[in-house]
Symmetry: C2
Subunit: 234 residues, 2 copies
DNA sequence: TAGTGTGAACAGTTTCACAGCG
DNA sequence: CGCTGTGAAACTGTTCACACTA
């Protein structure tokens, strides 16, 4: 159908989820067409970059008009591999794990939390977010049942001290995609993909930027991720 | 004392917190000296990059020996602006806000959670993580009291629909550093620094990498953030 | 001699500016 | 005419390889 895109750059892939969210908002509001300029503002990037990113997926825009919201959203979803729902398991049912299990936002985004685990016997057996909490010993069996295709994504929400052990167990059980909320660098075998989300790191980056903003009043601030000036009209 | 460093690149600053954590671990273990190679492995980067990053801070290593752990940790902390403790306020006391308020890990890292807020009258007045939950109306007064120097960092942990409103209130109250957990792009005035942490985005990136790993069995995986092969000896 | 610090080559990313199309 | 798609230029970041020094 559409020409197979040449491999997408890391930088481009990193921005696709942001575009997808902006598109979903527009679609929910009944907007059917959008220009690169408007979509760029809503996504917090400049329009040339957005156009170049999208051009790597193929030619989905109409010159002089813009992009069809529905068509583009579908295409980005497809490229990101969201065509079918992926199972997610959570390890570590403290406050954070609890928050993640209860959060309904995944379902709409192509993910489904299908199991959760904890090491603490006091927590094992409870019901959280509609799921039974399993012991770590049950991990291989439960995983084989809820994600028989071996495509589960694991979220590590344990304390720092338990995270490497949890990662080892997960890898042993065949998991190859891990989202790590514990503030440690995980060592995993090649072929396993780890992404890290770390609160302290984010705060430290904000502190750094704040310091330089105050020290150098002349310059505008420059954020690591998001920065925007204009209010978005409803 | 040390020559004032030329401006650090964004990419370098982004890695400093990671180095700092690795250094803190080593220091806690009583290690006093470390080579660029070992510190690099523990941080998940290659040693040339690490040396170049550190060289931008000044010359803190000893040729033929390595870096003094204590000295380097202090220097990195200083550069990141962690010399004095920064106040943090949390807006949105759902499960996530609750988790953040209870998490003690900040204190050791130069941050102190000093107040929390929620819009819901059922939650206002409760005590969470040793703090009273305030209403949003109290934001300006409370902020002036707990962060009189105007250097507070705000964490937004509200649902997506309330996040922009919360951001507006915070900006009005003088906050200029925001960590946003809500899955929306916030519009803020220039001079305000927003960093975004988004679960769905992270899962989508993992899904993308997983799809390409399975489709192209030849290549090694390449993660957006972390990837490592070797176990770190204790 | 072991390991830092760094210029120089390389790779990747962003921005510019405009041709070309609906 | 307006807006996409895209080469080419500018910039930023990474890797290499080795001079240099404690």
């Amino acid at each position: 159908m559409t020409h197979e895109p040449d491999r997408l750059s890391d930088a481009t892939v990193l921005r696709l989820p942001t575009y997808l969210r902006a598109l979903a908002e527009l679609e929910a509001r009944g907007v059917t067409s959008v220009s690169s300029e408007e979509l760029a503002v809503r996504s917090g990037v400049n329009s040339a970059k957005l156009r170049k990113d999208l051009s790597h997926l193929g030619s989905y825009g109409v010159r002089g008009v813009g992009y069809d919201v529905r068509v583009l959203a579908d295409e980005v979803s497809k490229v990101l591999g969201l065509a079918q729902v992926r199972p997610v398991v959570i390890v570590g049912m403290g406050h954070l794990g609890h928050a993640l299990a209860d959060f309904g936002g995944f379902a709409t985004k192509g993910f489904d939390v299908v199991a959760c685990f904890d090491r603490d016997p006091d927590i094992v057996g409870r019901r959280i977010g509609g799921l039974d909490v399993h012991s770590m010993a049950e991990l291989p069996q439960v995983l084989a049942r809820v994600a028989p295709r071996g495509d589960a994504i694991a979220v590590i929400a344990t304390p720092a001290a338990s995270a490497q052990g949890a990662a080892d167990d997960l890898v042993l059980a065949g998991v190859r995609s891990v989202l790590n909320f514990a503030p440690v660098h995980l060592a995993v075998p090649q072929g396993t993909d780890v992404r890290k989300v770390d609160l302290s790191t984010e705060l430290q980056l904000l502190a750094f930027h704040a310091m330089h903003r105050d020290a150098l009043p002349g310059g505008a601030s420059s954020a690591g991720s998001d920065l925007s000036t204009s209010e978005v009209p409803s």
